[in-house]
């Protein structure tokens, strides 16, 4: 079965330890954590999978810390990357437009 690692218990994303196809089951493990979820996209090794539903604007949590914000609603099992997760730091583009 496809495997993903979660770093801290309160994380809402995990890191894929292999390539996974949409519809396949992923076993997510970590410290005091075990969960089986269904991948909703094809996701490559090393990329992130959401392990619960995340609302637009909510922080994406990895290593127990915010790594940015969801720019749209993200369902459990979706690929989390550049298309749906934005950084909140070093945003010179936002300063310019305001």
């Amino acid at each position: 079965m496809a495997r993903a690692i979660v770093m801290k218990k309160n994380d809402n994303v995990a890191t894929m330890m292999c390539n996974v196809k949409s519809g396949e089951t992923v076993n997510v493990t970590g410290p005091d954590f075990e969960l089986e979820i269904e991948a909703r996209n094809d996701i490559s090794f090393g990329h992130k999978i959401s392990i619960r539903d995340i609302k637009e604007g909510e922080n994406i949590i990895k290593y127990g810390e915010s790594i940015g914000s969801a720019v749209m609603n993200i369902s459990q099992g979706e690929h989390v990357h550049l298309h749906n997760l934005m950084s909140n730091r070093g945003r010179g583009d936002l300063v310019k437009s305001s």
Partner: protein
């Protein structure tokens, strides 16, 4: 814990025995390379800078060139200058000479051009190498080591496996009385609050927070999303999405030791324990800064794989990506991918990596050394005029 190193005139311990031929400016780089190519045992220190620089930027370039010359991995130095550049050769010699090591100078304009300077330089360099060759390795305490810590071509395995392994190595070295340096200020953006909590006092915590804030402000002043350049395209292909994510993985390299202080780029390290140096995330510039600060050895994690080294310090490559460990085996010294499978732990691989570090410190060559990687770059903080 013991290693076998070279005890220099001032008591500092080197783990390599290079004669460094240092270009004062870009204008003397060709002569430096010509000399070095003819004399085994020398390393060329060339760069694009050294002229038409002002203020803090000029001071920083001088500090780095002096620091590289002072590094105890260097047995002797030959400074080669054109003669009219902003980085004055005498100033470099003056800065390096305090260590007690032999330092010679040649000025191309005074020697009558490139060929004459090269000819004389080859003779001078050969004499320096002959003298350096009589140095013997002796047993010294591992606490003499200053370890530079770097990550480059990161992917998400870096934060999960290789960076925590380096963190363990740092903890072991610090526990044995040695020194480690975390670097790459860009790659602390988003994780600074965690590191600041480990500062030995409020002043150190504020120094760190200020360095990170200034770095972020410089990025913001460019008017674009930092994500254009950081994380890099390779980081993103490897699954890292934001600078916060990269940073939170990056700081695992610092292990669990207290943060003793924050150093300027290329600043000489005088204390023991874990330090932070204010360097950019660009690997080569960052490594140069730490080695100029006195690091004799560098440990470098990578997910995507990278060949880079340093002219005067061995660079140990650690990867947690199983594909990279196979695909770029020529470049990776330590594969820690078994951690991902649960076959090894961070502690067990950390112990192995620490043993490897001792072997390299005692003379074992790294892949980057064997491959001849001698990348050199100096971080600039102002434009050229």
């Amino acid at each position: 814990m013991k290693i076998k190193g070279y005890v220099r005139e001032n008591g500092a311990v080197g783990i390599r025995n290079h004669v460094a031929i240092i270009a004062a400016s870009v204008c003397s780089g060709q002569v430096v390379n010509a000399i070095s190519s003819q004399v085994e045992g020398t390393v060329p220190i060339t760069h694009q800078h050294g002229c038409s620089q002002i203020g803090k930027d000029l001071i920083q370039t001088e500090r780095v060139l002096v620091g590289l010359g002072k590094n105890p991995n260097v047995a002797a130095v030959l400074v080669v200058a054109l003669g009219c550049e902003g980085v004055v050769a005498e100033k470099l010699v003056e800065g390096i000479k305090g260590t007690g090591k032999p330092v010679e100078t040649l000025i191309i304009q005074q020697e009558g051009g490139s060929l004459k300077c090269t000819e004389k330089g080859v003779r001078v360099a050969k004499e320096l190498v002959e003298k350096a060759a009589s140095a013997k390795r002796t047993e010294v305490d591992i606490s003499e080591l200053i370890l530079g810590m770097e990550c480059g071509g990161s992917d998400t395995t870096s934060g999960i496996a290789s960076n925590p392994v380096v963190g363990k190595v740092s903890d072991l070295l610090v526990a044995d009385g040695g020194t480690s340096i975390l670097s790459e200020t860009t790659e602390v953006i988003g994780a600074e609050h965690i590191l600041a909590r480990r500062a030995v006092n409020e002043e150190v915590a504020n120094d760190l927070l200020r360095a990170v804030k200034e770095c972020e402000q410089r990025a913001i002043s460019c008017g674009v999303d930092l994500r254009e350049g950081q994380p890099t395209p390779g980081n993103k292909a490897g699954g890292i999405t934001t600078i916060e994510e990269k940073s939170l993985g990056c700081i695992y390299k610092a292990g669990t030791a207290d943060l003793q202080g924050v150093l300027q780029y290329g600043e000489e390290i005088k204390g023991k324990g874990m330090y932070f140096m204010d360097t950019p995330g660009q690997d080569i510039e960052s490594i140069t800064g730490m080695v100029a600060g006195g690091a004799q050895i560098v440990i470098f994690t990578t997910g995507r794989g990278t060949p880079t080294g340093c002219p005067i310090a061995p660079v140990i490559k650690v990867s947690g990506n199983p594909e990279t460990c196979k695909n770029m085996a020529d470049n990776i010294d330590i594969c820690v991918a078994d951690i991902l499978e649960g076959k090894e732990t961070i502690d067990s691989m950390g112990e192995k990596a620490y043993k490897f570090l001792q072997e390299v410190a005692s003379g074992k060559l790294t892949k980057a050394e064997i491959n001849g990687n001698r990348e050199m770059a100096i971080y600039r903080i102002a434009s050229t005029f």
